[in-house]
């Protein structure tokens, strides 16, 4: 069933829960990986994913289909992840701990990371980027989204996104040159 049919089903009285379960079933996995690449930890990703769908459930009756359903869900997930990252950074600032070191250790200690050394160094390099730049890089590099789609999700101009990706690319390239 495509997103338009799912939304039509959602608007039928008494079928909201059923339709929403279908939406969760269809989009949860892809959204999970998008969030996971931004926040790294499985437990945090799980919380953010659940919050994303709970927010979507509350806002879906007002969704006017000006964008695609998946883009809209992607936007909620990205905003939730960026808010989470901002809070984490603030929390570590208040506890006077080194945030970048914390993130690095998190990846080292992650029992759900199964990559080789190159992938580990690459992930660590991505984690050094500012949250929004990281989101741009992930969406472009991993998900291969078009700049127009990313622009819709992040509400940022295509020009600014291109510049952001270019900076991120250069920074990661530099880190990898030194580490691999």
């Amino acid at each position: 069933m495509d997103d338009k049919d799912l939304l039509a089903l959602f608007r039928e009285k008494g079928k909201e829960n059923y339709a929403f379960n279908l939406i969760v079933e269809k989009h949860s996995e892809r959204l999970y990986w998008h969030i996971r690449k931004l926040v790294t930890s499985h437990e945090d990703t799980n919380d953010i994913l659940q919050n994303t769908f709970i927010k979507a459930w509350g806002a879906l009756p007002k969704f006017r289909e000006e964008s695609r359903l998946f883009t809209w869900l992607y936007r909620i997930a990205t905003n939730e992840s960026l808010t989470f990252l901002k809070r984490s950074k603030l929390r570590s600032f208040l506890s006077l701990s080194d945030y970048s070191k914390q993130v690095e250790n998190q990846l080292e200690a992650d029992p759900w990371f199964d990559g080789d050394n190159t992938q580990r160094v690459f992930r660590k390099a991505i984690m050094t980027l500012p949250p929004k730049q990281r989101a741009v890089f992930n969406m472009r590099y991993y998900d291969e989204l078009k700049y127009e789609e990313i622009s819709e999700i992040l509400n940022t101009s295509v020009g600014a996104l291109k510049a952001s990706y270019h900076h991120a690319f250069k920074k990661i390239q530099e880190i990898l040159k030194e580490s691999i």
């Binding site: 829960n17 990559g115 992938q119 590099y141």
Partner: protein
Amino acid sequence: MRTNFNIEEPANKKHLQENPYKVPNGYFNSVRVDISDKISAQTQKTGFWTVAKPQLGLVSLFAFVFLFAYTIFHIFPTDSNFSLRDKSGSATTIIGSNIEYVEEGFLKSTFVDFFYSSIDSLTTTNEQITEDELIDYLSENVDLITLSYLDVQD
């Protein structure tokens, strides 16, 4: 150290795009159930109580503030035997129907303020103010600094 590693090179990109993360077995099925449970719980919550609860909370807050203020005025009452000076200068105690306002706790001060303010107003009386009365009034109500300033102005 290798200096020619390019993340956009197709072979490198393919390798780096591989997902290095894992999830616990059966995670995606269990998360769907968790989300569904949370949403069902939210839907059930939206009954009469969910709607009425915040409003009842607000009403109780107002009631609490009112009772608190009422109690405070009862514990620390203002002087209940007050008097006014009539035209002849003799003291008159408020009696009759006004006394019930006086006994109404915090309403008392409001009423007294209103009463005094209407008596004090020069616009409500045709009575001539004598020089002695004016000096009495000034000596009671105007501080020394203001008076000395007036001296300098003269």
